[in-house]
Symmetry: C2
Subunit: 323 residues, 2 copies
């Protein structure tokens, strides 16, 4: 972690102290021009995400502890979407001169908390001044057999993990002024938005068994993410609206629960395809994880939504915009 132009020596010292870690593969951690990591036998997986205040989060809605966790976890989710094991993180952080010390402490506490939870070591970073808060995380994972977005074939079944639309509903509750503590259902939805859970174990289990032909993590919402998987795999899909699992709290609190589930983003469940020969493996994993078959991949490039009535309509990529 270097700091340009010596703006925050105390903060840097605290970060280096709090994030100091020794582990077998790490030859050199925070504090130098670059970190050094000894390669193992598995490929390295690398991903980066940029979170911008006002575009991806709002300071008044995203408490810094959860924002720290989420910044790391959305990147961990990308590693999970490859079936990999998250290992190392680098953090670029831009903050205004006026940022309260408590904000920074809580943000870094969130980063540390999520890092420990997932066995990730923070090995590098860069701190800057900026008008708005900027968070750039790069995550390094490892994975012997990784699952790309492009391996799906016509005839494969399409699955999702978890219950889509909860994060969208949670965001809207927050935007309406609801905070933690109103009721259990609201809390669950707000938590889904503020503190998404990357599906690392599921991703690794699918990769280990070569059960999935293609996979991604759902950040943009089901409609967009189905398009993404199909585009990369060169196929189409039929998604059964009646198969989409709706969380109980979503059903109770939101009239728009179907729309939430089809178009709401930031749930970070996994969307994956499985060849017919692999379905038994997926069924096996269903005992451990919440998996739902929502449709199938087709030779035609069209992405179709089969309504409850049986009517087939184009499943247009749409999305809520949060901010």
């Amino acid at each position: 972690m270097k700091l340009r132009r010596r703006t925050e020596p105390d903060l840097i010292a605290a970060i280096r102290r709090d994030f100091a870690v020794r582990r077998p593969g790490l030859a050199l951690g925070l504090g130098d021009d670059a970190a050094a990591v000894r390669p193992g036998k598995e490929p390295f997986l690398l991903t980066t995400d940029l979170l911008v205040e006002g575009s991806h989060f709002i300071r008044s809605l995203n408490p810094p502890f959860y924002l720290g966790r989420k910044s790391l976890n959305v990147n961990i989710s990308d590693i999970a979407a490859m079936g990999g094991r998250p290992r190392y993180a680098l953090l670029g952080l831009g903050v205004p001169r006026t940022i309260p010390k408590a904000w920074l402490e809580e943000f870094f506490a969130g980063i540390r908390n999520a890092a420990r939870e997932r066995g990730v070591a923070l090995i590098g970073g860069d701190l800057s001044r900026s008008d708005k808060i900027l968070i750039s995380v790069t995550l390094v994972g490892e994975g012997k057999r990784f699952i790309s977005r492009s391996g799906a074939r016509p005839g494969d079944a399409l699955f999702i993990s978890g219950f889509p639309g909860r994060a969208q509903a949670g965001f809207e509750l927050l935007a309406q002024g609801v905070r933690f503590g109103r009721d259990k259902d609201s809390d669950a939805l707000i938590r889904a938005f503020l503190d998404p859970v990357p599906q690392v174990e599921l991703g690794m289990d699918l990769a280990r068994r070569s059960a999935a032909s293609a996979m991604l993590d759902m950040s943009d919402g089901l409609s967009v993410d189905v398009h993404n998987l199909c585009r990369e795999s060169g196929c189409g899909a039929e998604v059964e609206e009646k198969a989409i699992p709706i969380a109980a709290e979503l059903l109770r609190l939101r009239k728009s629960h179907v729309r939430d589930a089809l178009y709401g983003g930031e749930d970070y469940g996994l969307l994956f395809s499985a060849a017919p020969s692999q379905l038994a493996k997926v069924r096996g994993l269903s005992k451990k994880f919440n998996l739902t078959r929502i449709g199938r991949l087709t030779r035609s490039r069209d992405i179709i939504l089969v309504k409850r009535s049986g009517r087939k309509v184009p499943f247009k990529p749409g999305g809520f915009r949060h901010f």
Copy 2:
């Protein structure tokens, strides 16, 4: 390269096309949740930098082609400072909705140009909307023997490569309204600021020969960077003012050339120490690179500047602020 919420599908397609690359170690490049890189035998070196409009660059002063090059090259410079070989890059880019298409094209042309020049493959990224331009680059390098900041010992000699202060002078010329084409001297200084050259070959040669005991790249200016090296190595230094090499154009154009050289940042030359037993190796490299011995490391923790008069004064960490 994912794009959140499908804001720029054409741009993403162009980037994937323009940056498509096949190389032995790269198992999966742009377009998936993460890139996959097969490990070689050498440690991976990882570094990240965040560049923020208004803090690290100004749109009116930094032409996008050079800004693209510089964004990559300042990270390559961190790999050079470890003695490593730059290999892969990930890019997080935030741009305002109003950004001209030509700006983006030239910025990416600069990224591509610098990447090709240095054998670097762009393997991942994230595009976002933001009010100001934000550039986050993560660079992955490889290096069998890397040189940290912490290996210097009292009695080691202190060297720099190149001529410090040129970038600072170039920035000030630009801020005064001078542009390329006024005269050869100004052009050289402006270029030093807009288009710094990472010292990759020098870094690798020093590492290969185990000639340097500690090393970093000078981004904050000599005074700060000497402090950084000494702090990490737990020693002090005496720097001879009269030994600091002053570029001819700096001497001709700037009355403040000594101050420029002592305190001006962003030159990205290498600052390194060498044990007495290694000095012959450094002398050997002096035939190929522009190296100057500027002082020595001491047991005392003090950082001393020996003035031309022979008077010793504290070499306080100071720096110009560009913006």
